[in-house]
Protein backbone atom coordinates (compact mmCIF):
# COMPACT_ATOMS: atom_id res chain seq x y z
CA UNK A 1 0.00 0.00 0.00
CA UNK A 2 1.47 3.30 -1.13
CA UNK A 3 1.67 6.62 0.67
CA UNK A 4 -0.45 9.31 -1.04
CA UNK A 5 1.46 11.82 -3.10
CA UNK A 6 0.32 15.30 -2.04
CA UNK A 7 1.61 18.72 -3.12
CA UNK A 8 4.74 18.64 -0.96
CA UNK A 9 5.91 15.20 -2.04
CA UNK A 10 5.06 15.88 -5.69
CA UNK A 11 7.07 19.11 -5.69
CA UNK A 12 10.01 17.30 -4.13
CA UNK A 13 9.90 14.41 -6.61
CA UNK A 14 9.75 16.89 -9.50
CA UNK A 15 12.53 18.96 -7.95
CA UNK A 16 14.84 15.96 -7.72
CA UNK A 17 13.96 14.72 -11.23
CA UNK A 18 14.43 18.15 -12.80
CA UNK A 19 17.63 18.76 -10.78
CA UNK A 20 19.19 15.52 -12.01
CA UNK A 21 17.78 16.10 -15.51
CA UNK A 22 19.26 19.59 -15.78
CA UNK A 23 22.58 18.30 -14.47
CA UNK A 24 22.76 15.54 -17.08
CA UNK A 25 21.74 18.00 -19.79
CA UNK A 26 24.46 20.44 -18.77
CA UNK A 27 27.14 17.73 -18.85
CA UNK A 28 26.12 16.60 -22.34
CA UNK A 29 25.72 20.20 -23.47
CA UNK A 30 29.20 21.23 -22.33
CA UNK A 31 30.71 18.04 -23.78
CA UNK A 32 29.31 19.23 -27.12
CA UNK A 33 32.11 21.80 -27.22
CA UNK A 34 34.39 18.90 -28.18
CA UNK A 35 33.20 19.40 -31.78
CA UNK A 36 35.14 22.68 -31.80
CA UNK A 37 38.28 20.57 -31.64
CA UNK A 38 37.13 18.13 -34.31
CA UNK A 39 36.46 20.72 -36.96
CA UNK A 40 34.23 23.58 -38.17
CA UNK A 41 32.00 21.32 -40.32
CA UNK A 42 31.29 19.03 -37.39
CA UNK A 43 30.62 21.98 -35.08
CA UNK A 44 28.16 23.51 -37.51
CA UNK A 45 26.39 20.19 -37.90
CA UNK A 46 26.22 19.88 -34.10
CA UNK A 47 24.69 23.35 -33.71
CA UNK A 48 22.22 22.67 -36.52
CA UNK A 49 20.90 19.71 -34.54
CA UNK A 50 19.29 22.11 -32.06
CA UNK A 51 17.18 23.49 -34.87
CA UNK A 52 15.45 20.17 -35.56
CA UNK A 53 11.83 19.64 -34.46
CA UNK A 54 12.90 17.00 -31.93
CA UNK A 55 15.27 19.35 -30.13
CA UNK A 56 12.85 22.26 -30.27
CA UNK A 57 10.20 20.20 -28.50
CA UNK A 58 12.79 18.81 -26.08
CA UNK A 59 13.90 22.35 -25.30
CA UNK A 60 10.38 23.22 -24.25
CA UNK A 61 10.71 20.40 -21.73
CA UNK A 62 14.11 21.66 -20.66
CA UNK A 63 12.72 25.16 -20.16
CA UNK A 64 9.89 23.72 -18.04
CA UNK A 65 12.34 21.71 -15.97
CA UNK A 66 14.60 24.70 -15.32
CA UNK A 67 11.67 26.97 -14.48
CA UNK A 68 10.16 24.41 -12.12
CA UNK A 69 13.48 23.73 -10.43
CA UNK A 70 14.34 27.38 -10.00
CA UNK A 71 10.90 28.47 -8.81
CA UNK A 72 10.49 25.48 -6.49
CA UNK A 73 13.99 26.12 -5.15
CA UNK A 74 12.88 29.65 -4.25
CA UNK A 75 9.72 28.20 -2.73
CA UNK A 76 11.73 25.90 -0.45
CA UNK A 77 13.95 28.79 0.62
CA UNK A 78 10.89 30.93 1.39
CA UNK A 79 9.26 28.16 3.46
CA UNK A 80 12.46 27.49 5.39
CA UNK A 81 13.21 31.13 6.14
CA UNK A 82 9.90 32.96 6.35
CA UNK A 83 8.83 31.41 9.66
CA UNK A 84 5.23 31.24 8.46
CA UNK A 85 3.24 28.16 9.52
CA UNK A 86 4.00 25.66 6.81
CA UNK A 87 1.08 23.46 5.82
CA UNK A 88 -1.30 25.89 4.12
CA UNK A 89 1.40 28.30 3.08
CA UNK A 90 3.52 25.61 1.40
CA UNK A 91 0.53 24.37 -0.59
CA UNK A 92 -0.44 27.91 -1.54
CA UNK A 93 3.10 28.53 -2.81
CA UNK A 94 3.00 25.20 -4.66
CA UNK A 95 0.05 26.34 -6.77
CA UNK A 96 1.63 29.78 -7.24
CA UNK A 97 4.71 28.20 -8.80
CA UNK A 98 2.63 25.82 -10.92
CA UNK A 99 0.94 28.94 -12.27
CA UNK A 100 4.21 30.87 -12.71
CA UNK A 101 5.92 27.95 -14.46
CA UNK A 102 3.11 27.67 -16.99
CA UNK A 103 2.89 31.44 -17.43
CA UNK A 104 6.63 31.84 -18.01
CA UNK A 105 6.68 28.88 -20.38
CA UNK A 106 4.12 30.43 -22.70
CA UNK A 107 6.32 33.01 -24.51
CA UNK A 108 9.31 30.62 -24.66
CA UNK A 109 7.17 27.82 -26.06
CA UNK A 110 5.82 30.19 -28.68
CA UNK A 111 9.29 31.25 -29.79
CA UNK A 112 10.65 27.69 -29.81
CA UNK A 113 7.76 26.05 -31.63
CA UNK A 114 6.77 28.84 -34.04
CA UNK A 115 9.28 27.83 -36.74
CA UNK A 116 7.88 24.28 -36.71
CA UNK A 117 4.54 25.57 -37.90
CA UNK A 118 6.09 27.91 -40.45
CA UNK A 119 8.03 25.02 -41.95
CA UNK A 120 11.34 26.85 -41.51
CA UNK A 121 12.98 24.36 -39.20
CA UNK A 122 14.25 20.86 -39.89
Amino acid sequence: MRYSIKEGMLSWLLHRLTGIGIFIFLIIHVMGAIYLKIGPEEWNHHVELFNTPFFRVAEVGLMGAILWHGLNGLRIIIIDFSGIRTSHFAKFLFWIIVFLTILLMLPGTYILLKPLFEGVAG
Partner: protein
Protein backbone atom coordinates in the same frame (compact mmCIF):
# COMPACT_ATOMS: atom_id res chain seq x y z
CA UNK B 1 -9.46 -13.54 2.78
CA UNK B 2 -12.67 -11.60 2.50
CA UNK B 3 -15.27 -11.46 5.24
CA UNK B 4 -18.61 -9.72 5.64
CA UNK B 5 -19.41 -8.52 9.16
CA UNK B 6 -22.34 -6.71 10.68
CA UNK B 7 -20.81 -3.94 12.80
CA UNK B 8 -24.04 -2.85 14.43
CA UNK B 9 -27.63 -3.88 14.20
CA UNK B 10 -29.30 -0.78 15.58
CA UNK B 11 -32.62 -0.02 13.95
CA UNK B 12 -33.39 3.15 12.08
CA UNK B 13 -29.80 3.98 11.13
CA UNK B 14 -28.73 4.65 7.60
CA UNK B 15 -26.01 2.06 7.37
CA UNK B 16 -23.53 1.58 4.59
CA UNK B 17 -21.12 -1.13 3.54
CA UNK B 18 -17.43 -0.31 3.43
CA UNK B 19 -14.52 -2.54 2.55
CA UNK B 20 -11.46 -2.44 4.84
CA UNK B 21 -8.24 -3.74 3.33
CA UNK B 22 -5.74 -4.45 6.06
CA UNK B 23 -2.06 -5.13 5.45
CA UNK B 24 -1.17 -8.21 7.49
CA UNK B 25 2.21 -9.51 8.61
CA UNK B 26 3.12 -12.58 10.60
CA UNK B 27 6.78 -13.62 10.71
CA UNK B 28 5.78 -17.21 11.47
CA UNK B 29 3.55 -17.65 8.44
CA UNK B 30 4.31 -18.41 4.82
CA UNK B 31 3.91 -16.08 2.98
CA UNK B 32 4.49 -13.72 5.89
CA UNK B 33 2.79 -10.76 4.21
CA UNK B 34 -0.72 -10.57 2.80
CA UNK B 35 -3.81 -8.34 2.62
CA UNK B 36 -7.12 -9.19 4.29
CA UNK B 37 -10.42 -7.67 3.19
CA UNK B 38 -13.31 -7.18 5.57
CA UNK B 39 -16.66 -5.81 4.46
CA UNK B 40 -18.48 -4.15 7.33
CA UNK B 41 -21.75 -2.36 7.83
CA UNK B 42 -20.66 0.98 9.23
CA UNK B 43 -21.61 4.60 9.84
CA UNK B 44 -19.70 7.69 8.75
CA UNK B 45 -18.89 8.52 12.37
CA UNK B 46 -17.40 5.15 13.32
CA UNK B 47 -13.76 5.48 14.27
CA UNK B 48 -11.25 3.30 12.44
CA UNK B 49 -10.15 2.09 15.87
CA UNK B 50 -13.68 0.86 16.63
CA UNK B 51 -13.62 -1.10 13.42
CA UNK B 52 -10.25 -2.69 14.18
CA UNK B 53 -11.51 -3.64 17.65
CA UNK B 54 -14.66 -5.08 16.15
CA UNK B 55 -12.70 -7.15 13.66
CA UNK B 56 -10.31 -8.39 16.33
CA UNK B 57 -13.02 -9.18 18.86
CA UNK B 58 -15.54 -10.79 16.56
CA UNK B 59 -13.93 -11.90 13.33
CA UNK B 60 -10.22 -12.50 13.50
CA UNK B 61 -8.57 -12.57 16.90
CA UNK B 62 -5.12 -12.76 15.33
CA UNK B 63 -5.25 -9.17 14.06
CA UNK B 64 -2.49 -7.23 15.79
CA UNK B 65 -2.53 -3.47 16.47
CA UNK B 66 -1.69 -1.09 19.31
CA UNK B 67 -4.11 1.27 21.00
CA UNK B 68 -4.63 2.50 24.49
CA UNK B 69 -6.39 5.76 25.30
CA UNK B 70 -8.70 5.84 22.26
CA UNK B 71 -8.76 9.64 22.62
CA UNK B 72 -5.72 10.85 20.71
CA UNK B 73 -3.59 11.30 23.81
CA UNK B 74 -1.28 8.30 24.14
CA UNK B 75 0.02 8.21 20.57
CA UNK B 76 0.02 4.42 20.28
CA UNK B 77 -2.26 3.82 17.30
CA UNK B 78 -0.51 5.68 14.51
CA UNK B 79 -0.93 3.85 11.20
CA UNK B 80 -1.31 4.52 7.49
CA UNK B 81 -5.00 4.95 6.70
CA UNK B 82 -5.95 5.58 3.07
CA UNK B 83 -2.37 6.52 2.25
CA UNK B 84 -1.84 9.00 5.08
CA UNK B 85 -0.42 8.51 8.55
CA UNK B 86 -2.99 9.20 11.26
CA UNK B 87 -4.28 7.93 14.58
CA UNK B 88 -6.91 5.20 14.20
CA UNK B 89 -8.79 6.66 17.18
CA UNK B 90 -8.98 10.13 15.59
CA UNK B 91 -9.94 9.04 12.08
CA UNK B 92 -13.52 8.43 11.09
CA UNK B 93 -14.86 6.27 8.29
CA UNK B 94 -16.24 9.49 6.80
CA UNK B 95 -12.71 10.92 6.62
CA UNK B 96 -12.16 8.63 3.63
CA UNK B 97 -14.79 10.00 1.29
CA UNK B 98 -16.66 8.02 -1.32
CA UNK B 99 -17.25 4.30 -1.29
CA UNK B 100 -13.77 3.08 -2.10
CA UNK B 101 -12.05 0.44 0.06
CA UNK B 102 -10.21 1.88 3.06
CA UNK B 103 -6.59 0.74 3.08
CA UNK B 104 -4.97 0.29 6.47
CA UNK B 105 -1.24 -0.44 6.74
CA UNK B 106 1.48 -0.14 9.39
CA UNK B 107 3.75 2.92 9.63
CA UNK B 108 6.44 2.89 6.94
CA UNK B 109 10.21 2.96 7.25
CA UNK B 110 10.45 0.94 10.48
CA UNK B 111 10.45 -2.85 10.97
CA UNK B 112 6.98 -4.42 11.29
CA UNK B 113 6.57 -6.84 14.18
CA UNK B 114 3.04 -8.06 13.53
CA UNK B 115 0.25 -6.71 11.30
CA UNK B 116 -0.13 -3.03 12.25
CA UNK B 117 2.41 -3.15 15.09
CA UNK B 118 5.82 -1.69 14.26
CA UNK B 119 9.02 -1.59 16.25
CA UNK B 120 9.03 1.89 17.82
CA UNK B 121 12.44 1.50 19.49
CA UNK B 122 14.52 2.91 16.65
CA UNK B 123 12.22 5.96 16.57
CA UNK B 124 12.30 6.53 20.32
CA UNK B 125 16.09 6.04 20.37
CA UNK B 126 16.33 8.86 17.86
CA UNK B 127 14.31 11.13 20.12
CA UNK B 128 16.46 10.23 23.12
CA UNK B 129 19.63 10.84 21.13
CA UNK B 130 18.94 14.59 20.87
CA UNK B 131 18.87 15.07 24.68
CA UNK B 132 15.26 16.21 24.87
CA UNK B 133 15.34 17.60 28.40
CA UNK B 134 16.17 20.77 30.30
CA UNK B 135 19.61 20.93 31.87
CA UNK B 136 19.80 23.60 34.58
CA UNK B 137 23.24 23.46 36.15
CA UNK B 138 22.78 26.04 38.91
CA UNK B 139 19.35 24.83 39.88
CA UNK B 140 19.28 22.81 43.09
CA UNK B 141 16.72 20.27 44.19
CA UNK B 142 14.17 21.77 46.54
CA UNK B 143 14.39 25.25 45.00
CA UNK B 144 11.29 26.71 43.44
CA UNK B 145 10.52 25.77 39.85
CA UNK B 146 12.36 27.31 36.93
CA UNK B 147 10.33 30.00 35.23
CA UNK B 148 10.16 31.22 31.67
CA UNK B 149 8.26 34.19 30.29
CA UNK B 150 4.89 33.76 28.63
CA UNK B 151 6.44 35.14 25.44
CA UNK B 152 9.23 32.58 25.46
CA UNK B 153 6.77 29.79 26.13
CA UNK B 154 4.61 30.78 23.20
CA UNK B 155 7.56 30.13 20.88
CA UNK B 156 7.61 26.46 21.90
CA UNK B 157 3.99 25.91 22.89
CA UNK B 158 3.12 24.27 19.57
CA UNK B 159 5.92 21.70 19.95
CA UNK B 160 5.06 20.78 23.54
CA UNK B 161 1.84 19.18 22.27
CA UNK B 162 3.68 16.22 20.71
CA UNK B 163 2.34 12.82 21.78
CA UNK B 164 5.25 10.79 20.36
CA UNK B 165 3.10 8.90 17.87
CA UNK B 166 5.81 8.95 15.16
CA UNK B 167 3.22 9.56 12.43
CA UNK B 168 5.50 12.36 11.19
CA UNK B 169 8.80 10.50 11.05
CA UNK B 170 7.29 7.49 9.29
CA UNK B 171 5.63 9.72 6.67
CA UNK B 172 8.95 11.28 5.69
CA UNK B 173 10.47 10.24 2.33
CA UNK B 174 13.89 11.16 3.70
CA UNK B 175 13.50 8.56 6.44
CA UNK B 176 12.28 5.90 4.01
CA UNK B 177 15.50 6.25 2.03
CA UNK B 178 17.86 6.84 4.97
CA UNK B 179 16.92 5.04 8.16
CA UNK B 180 19.64 6.90 10.07
CA UNK B 181 17.94 10.27 9.51
CA UNK B 182 16.83 11.65 12.89
CA UNK B 183 13.41 12.45 11.45
CA UNK B 184 10.82 15.10 12.26
CA UNK B 185 9.72 13.70 15.63
CA UNK B 186 13.23 13.93 17.11
CA UNK B 187 13.75 17.30 15.41
CA UNK B 188 10.55 18.73 16.92
CA UNK B 189 11.85 17.65 20.33
CA UNK B 190 15.23 19.17 19.48
CA UNK B 191 13.59 22.46 18.46
CA UNK B 192 11.49 22.46 21.62
CA UNK B 193 14.53 22.11 23.92
CA UNK B 194 16.83 24.36 21.89
CA UNK B 195 14.29 27.18 22.09
CA UNK B 196 13.55 26.46 25.79
CA UNK B 197 15.16 29.43 27.54
CA UNK B 198 15.72 27.39 30.72
CA UNK B 199 17.94 24.87 28.95
CA UNK B 200 21.67 25.50 29.46
CA UNK B 201 22.72 22.61 27.27
CA UNK B 202 21.09 23.68 24.01
CA UNK B 203 24.50 23.68 22.31
CA UNK B 204 24.69 19.92 22.71
CA UNK B 205 21.39 19.47 20.88
CA UNK B 206 22.45 21.91 18.18
CA UNK B 207 25.62 19.94 17.60
CA UNK B 208 23.66 16.71 17.27
CA UNK B 209 21.01 17.99 14.88
CA UNK B 210 23.57 19.82 12.73
CA UNK B 211 25.25 16.52 11.88
CA UNK B 212 25.03 14.34 8.80
CA UNK B 213 21.75 12.71 9.84
CA UNK B 214 20.24 15.92 11.17
CA UNK B 215 18.05 18.77 9.90
CA UNK B 216 19.72 19.14 6.53
CA UNK B 217 18.38 15.74 5.49
CA UNK B 218 14.99 17.50 5.51
CA UNK B 219 13.91 18.63 2.04
CA UNK B 220 10.94 20.69 3.21
CA UNK B 221 8.46 18.19 1.78
CA UNK B 222 5.87 18.66 4.50
CA UNK B 223 4.46 15.12 4.71
CA UNK B 224 5.22 15.33 8.43
CA UNK B 225 3.12 18.46 8.99
CA UNK B 226 0.23 16.93 7.07
CA UNK B 227 0.47 13.76 9.17
CA UNK B 228 0.72 15.29 12.65
CA UNK B 229 -2.50 14.57 14.57
CA UNK B 230 -1.69 17.39 16.99
CA UNK B 231 -1.52 19.99 14.21
CA UNK B 232 2.06 20.80 15.10
CA UNK B 233 3.88 22.85 12.48
CA UNK B 234 6.53 20.14 12.17
CA UNK B 235 8.28 21.42 9.05
CA UNK B 236 8.28 24.90 10.61
CA UNK B 237 9.96 23.57 13.75
CA UNK B 238 12.66 21.96 11.59
CA UNK B 239 13.04 25.19 9.63
CA UNK B 240 13.52 27.02 12.95
CA UNK B 241 16.36 24.64 13.83
CA UNK B 242 17.92 25.19 10.40
CA UNK B 243 17.83 28.92 11.16
CA UNK B 244 19.43 28.47 14.56
CA UNK B 245 22.22 26.45 12.92
CA UNK B 246 22.86 29.21 10.41
CA UNK B 247 22.52 32.19 12.74
CA UNK B 248 23.74 30.82 16.08
CA UNK B 249 21.73 30.53 19.24
CA UNK B 250 23.36 33.49 21.01
CA UNK B 251 22.06 35.81 18.37
CA UNK B 252 19.01 36.83 20.38
CA UNK B 253 17.77 39.51 17.96
CA UNK B 254 17.68 37.38 14.86
CA UNK B 255 16.45 34.52 16.94
CA UNK B 256 13.27 36.30 17.81
CA UNK B 257 12.23 36.68 14.21
CA UNK B 258 11.14 33.07 14.29
CA UNK B 259 7.46 33.84 14.19
CA UNK B 260 4.86 31.30 15.15
CA UNK B 261 1.73 32.37 13.38
CA UNK B 262 -1.29 31.17 15.24
CA UNK B 263 -4.83 30.33 14.29
CA UNK B 264 -3.85 29.05 10.88
CA UNK B 265 -5.39 25.62 11.27
CA UNK B 266 -4.85 23.01 8.62
CA UNK B 267 -7.79 21.29 7.04
Amino acid sequence: MSILVNLRSRQGFIEMLRVFRIQRFNPEREPNQWVDEYTLEVNEDDKILDILLKIRDEVDTTLGFRASCAHGVCGSDGMMIDGLNRLACQTFVGDVPGRKPINIAPLKGVPVEKDLIVDMDPLLDKVKSVNPWVVAKEHKAGERELLMSQEDFEKIEDMTKCIWCSCCTTSCPSLWSDSDYLGPQALVMAARFILDTRNEDAEKIIEKVGGLDGVFRCHTIGNCTDACPRDIDVTGAIAAVKKVLLQGIDNEDKFSNIVWEKGDEKE
